[in-house]
Symmetry: C2
Subunit: 466 residues, 2 copies
Amino acid sequence: MNNYKTLDAKDREFLVSLLGEERVYTGEAISDDFSHDELGGISRLPDVLVDVLSTDEVSKIMSYANENNIPVVARGSGTGLVGASVPIFGGIMLNMCGMNKILELDEENLTLTLEPGVLLMEISKYVEEHDLFYPPDPGEKSATIAGNINTNAGGMRAVKYGVTRDYIRGLEVVLPTGKVINVGGKVVKNSSGYSVKDLICGSEGTLGIVTKVILKLIPLPKKAISLLIPFPDLDSAISTVPKIIKSKSIPTAIEFMQREVILAAEEFLGKKFPDNSSDAYLLLTFDGNSTEELEKDYEKVANICLVEGALDAFIIDTDERKEAVWSARGAFLEAVKASTTDMDECDVVVPRNRVAEFIKYTDLLQEQFNVRIRSFGHAGDGNLHVYVLKDELSDEAWKIKLAEVFEAMYRKSRDLHGLVSGEHGIGYAKKGYMFDQYEPDYVELMRNIKLAFDPKNILNPGKVCE
Amino acid sequence: MNNYKTLDAKDREFLVSLLGEERVYTGEAISDDFSHDELGGISRLPDVLVDVLSTDEVSKIMSYANENNIPVVARGSGTGLVGASVPIFGGIMLNMCGMNKILELDEENLTLTLEPGVLLMEISKYVEEHDLFYPPDPGEKSATIAGNINTNAGGMRAVKYGVTRDYIRGLEVVLPTGKVINVGGKVVKNSSGYSVKDLICGSEGTLGIVTKVILKLIPLPKKAISLLIPFPDLDSAISTVPKIIKSKSIPTAIEFMQREVILAAEEFLGKKFPDNSSDAYLLLTFDGNSTEELEKDYEKVANICLVEGALDAFIIDTDERKEAVWSARGAFLEAVKASTTDMDECDVVVPRNRVAEFIKYTDLLQEQFNVRIRSFGHAGDGNLHVYVLKDELSDEAWKIKLAEVFEAMYRKSRDLHGLVSGEHGIGYAKKGYMFDQYEPDYVELMRNIKLAFDPKNILNPGKVCE
């Protein structure tokens, strides 16, 4: 059904007339980087890559592509893990990274207005200098804000602060037809028609191209402290989390980590973690404005952990220890990746009182399939990052084994009332697992929604629900 | 284009066979209450009213209606203000109020699972008994939770805690075709396909019928205190709010109120407000777990107010004072309504540093059009409830004057980068003002979305974007 036009010299001419020669790349001038993301297991180069610098340019290109039936993919930093930004039908790729200006900090409305290509690390640095806080904290700090919006990334602080969606006040969006709309704004409340803003959020670049963002900020908490808590095994560590939640303490983050992953990170970084003698750890963070309250909170939680079998409770309060712990946590994905030949990730989310059961099941799978499985992630919000490693397997054996292990894991997640993706999205790689989970009527509804935005199916086709 | 089938004896028979005689009402058996909401300025009775008690019943009726091209409206408590629940094309009305059971409190996942007809006042009572908190706090406590979801109601605590959307983890939804889908769940994060959940939220009963709800809860803050702060005039009161926000204190609520509205509430309730000698007041609430922090916060804010010209700062900490203040605040809408012959409401939301400007403009309109205008609302989140009162005007004169005043107010809101509705929705009554604001492409997109859900346009037709 996708009879897209093959790009020709006339199309290239149009792009050059709009952007100039130096922002239009074809053939060998396109770096191989643009053919893939971090992990999606799929690659293809676009027929033409362009650097865009304004909403108007994006709009004109989309109008042209829509008229001429040319597929378009907008790409940020390419840090995705499910192939959402790979141009599987070729066509035009828009490199959004040049639209990277911070436009306005409004301290009376606590909003930050940005272009889509601003990086996560730049946002936190900028707002914290003004004593303000953008809470979403995905591990990959070189992702763009629009990329985060498109996956509705969650990150480590979701336990207390929620996910990216909760901090998007307004968007400027170029629709697949080239029309530009503004949804939301600086306002705190909005019940003015269907929430197109919330539909764009999490749509993985298939419904529109985000060209401007208004973020909600909050005051920066004055104090933060972390606890690193060793446990004799992962099961007792993770089983403690629902008890912490039930105790009505809300830490900012509750991460779990296993010794093997810590060792891999130590090797990867060439730096020591504060402790690596135990099999499993919980890493908890607390933030707030009063030392008294913070202390009360973390003492209560430390006690719960000790009652549940924790071996100790290390307070991470010096800059040096904080750096050691969080740089290791930030390097987990890269460290696991460096320890093997290839890998793929399962990003399921389950109710947080079922995390232990899921992890125990992956241990079983590891034995049953004789394959290395490594996991870390957000015990506090039920979102796991489980990596299946190829190691010495042949390409063929790996393909078969990975499919079997994934099939089993996603089935288990469904049994536990979990969902396919907590924050990395569906993209290209996880479509089948989503189709296995949702009622066919739900998938059909998503396809109808896609067509409501994109009747010619030219914006990032072949992703999410297609 | 809406060639709906006129209901006949066969349709009634189908409903009776499904529900029994005692749950199917026609003709005089339908109370007039079901023809209107609280303020929408429009009324029509359904051709048949049915009490539904299960998802299966709702699904079967929707399938039948979809096959037979019969319009359907689902109705909760009917506390809306824009006519969203009025069956303007007749057809079948589903009274959802019988589906009113609290199904499960899950303290390990901090979720509450409910049927759609549970009332707001029942939710807060139930969860607070378990030391938990459902933060959204719209003034109308006899609204149903599904009604709140359908308008994405915000309420008084949005400044600190956000709106209804932020507390919806999962929904069971009957689509206009009768198919049942589950969106979200007990999970904290979700990036598994388009967020149909967030689209249903705020769709005013036009995209699907909510038949089950999973709410997010948080621990109940241990302490709360209110400050009532008199100002010499409304302008100085409201102009102080952006300074409070900028000071990085985040009160739970910042409400503004004028003397006239307080006097009306005193008369309506037959009870005294703690103070009525000043022209304007800010009412602020603070909550948290540490007295020390709370005190620091409200002292800082009280000082800002005094510097900005406040006449005093009353601490509202006894149960008696709290009751006097909050019962008055809760009665404002009813009290204003009782003080006149008819009225209509403008529920605009503007960036919070533009509230003062908007209110000053309504004062001008009051003089210019020689009409009483009363307002109160959420200074902290920029959402105003502005009432234009009919008083002794003839029906005809009122109609003309109201249209002129509204036209001016919505124009002003657009100038200030505000939106048509902060929390009461568009429904039937505010469609024109939304069409005036949004790009035609945006409205067309909403219509496409509506058709993606409801190809025959039978669910609550004629609302929001049609």
